[in-house]
Symmetry: C2
Subunit: 252 residues, 2 copies
């Protein structure tokens, strides 16, 4: 096994924490089985993380601690686009009645920074901090469409084009064609490419150099996302919100 990271012990602990999140808590032996390491090694790591207060132990089960809440809140509030976009996203959710979202790109994946539920919003699995492949959301496509092609290539080299539903885009050239359209049109669609039955409209937030730093969207059930509402009304509302955010970003 080639040495891939400078400090392997840290890598193990981080994988361990993320596993505990996925499993929603686990004991020593279960973690050891999943990571294919001896229980004694895992035990050492769990103890360390617990002593440093990054995990909590209840009985023989370890859980992710709220220490991460503090770090996460900091990471989010550090993004100036977050605090400027938040009121606009709330507004968007209210007037459309649906979900409204804010996404940024980080390490080549899409991160939901914030979401607001409108009065008619359906139940949905998206939550703050959720990470998804960029090409599977209208948000991600709006971002990629307004980045240099070579940067998008690098992201694809790193993450590939994993399909999430049977409608996901999986061909690289097809994706670039779509991105071209999106850039010209100014906003993007997602038609059940990530979640069955859901459609989505998104627009990018651009900086002074027309480089996408984020995207905003509205998403809802297919039944309500159609005809003029889908092709005219929602795009206009979203473009207006995106524009307000862009303006507020430059003058702040």
């Amino acid at each position: 096994m080639a040495k891939d990271v400078p400090v392997n012990a840290v890598k193990i602990s981080l994988e361990l924490v993320d596993l505990l999140r996925e499993l929603d808590g686990a004991g020593v032996s279960e973690v050891a089985k999943r990571l294919d390491k001896p229980t004694s090694t895992i035990h050492d790591h769990l103890r360390t993380l617990e002593q440093q207060e990054y995990l909590v132990k209840e009985g023989d089960t370890y859980y992710v601690s709220t220490r991460f809440l503090q770090l996460g809140a900091h990471a989010r509030s550090r993004q100036k686009v977050f605090k400027i976009a938040r009121p606009e996203i709330n507004e968007l959710a209210q007037v459309t009645g649906e979900h409204a979202n804010l996404m940024i790109e980080e390490h080549g994946v899409g991160v939901f920074l914030y979401r607001s539920r409108g009065p008619d919003a359906v139940r949905l699995d998206t939550h703050s901090g959720m990470r998804v492949p960029l090409q599977t959301t209208a948000l991600g496509k709006s971002i990629m469409a307004n980045r240099p092609r070579e940067e998008v290539e690098r992201i694809l080299d790193r993450h590939g084009l994993e399909a999430v539903t049977d409608r996901s885009i999986t061909d690289r050239e097809e994706l670039f064609d779509v991105l071209e359209e999106v850039r010209e049109r100014g906003y993007s669609y997602d038609d059940e490419e990530r979640v069955k039955g859901m459609r989505c409209v998104a627009a990018p937030i651009l900086n002074e150099d027309d480089y996408a730093i984020a995207a905003v969207s509205v998403s809802g059930p297919k039944s309500r996302m159609r005809e003029e509402r889908f092709t005219e009304e929602l795009p206009n509302q979203i473009l207006k919100s995106a524009n307000v955010i862009e303006v507020n970003l430059t003058y702040s």
Copy 2:
């Protein structure tokens, strides 16, 4: 130096992350100076954390990444008291106009799980995930007052009684006297013990064994927190909310 944790490398990385949060981003040499380690060592750790996507690098500065947002959101939603209390806290903020808060204890410190700003709420530094010494808030006192004395002793042994303002309680016996009163009265006060000019009223959330699992509070400026509102109206509203939460917790 005695070996204090099983995996020292992990400890270094975790301290590093927390330092980056405090500093709101930093370069290699600044971190190295603060942690009193060689730059080469710090460099190894920063690279590892960045490769694992727990940090982001912008130019020569490393920042905490939104990876923590996902972990934090999980850690919070894991607490059933959070999702049950949230609507009640929002309600409390609306009817009182002030800040309303939810706190739990973790590793012997108070953690703000959620807060809601009412229409008249003043600017305040509290935020989700914030960690404070228990004895410096009405919330913390409500929790400690409804825990076995030996458990409180253990917490104090570990964390001491650090003063935050000149009104903070610093004497152990004095604290236990206060806690005794709080338990009998059913709710607790904070009169500028953490933040100058702010007062706070809190009530515990108890489980079936009368063991405090959390606390709710309302906090506001001294000028509005006085006379009957402070001694009657707010305590009653908070006790009512706490009771609703307790009931919803048992039947769910």
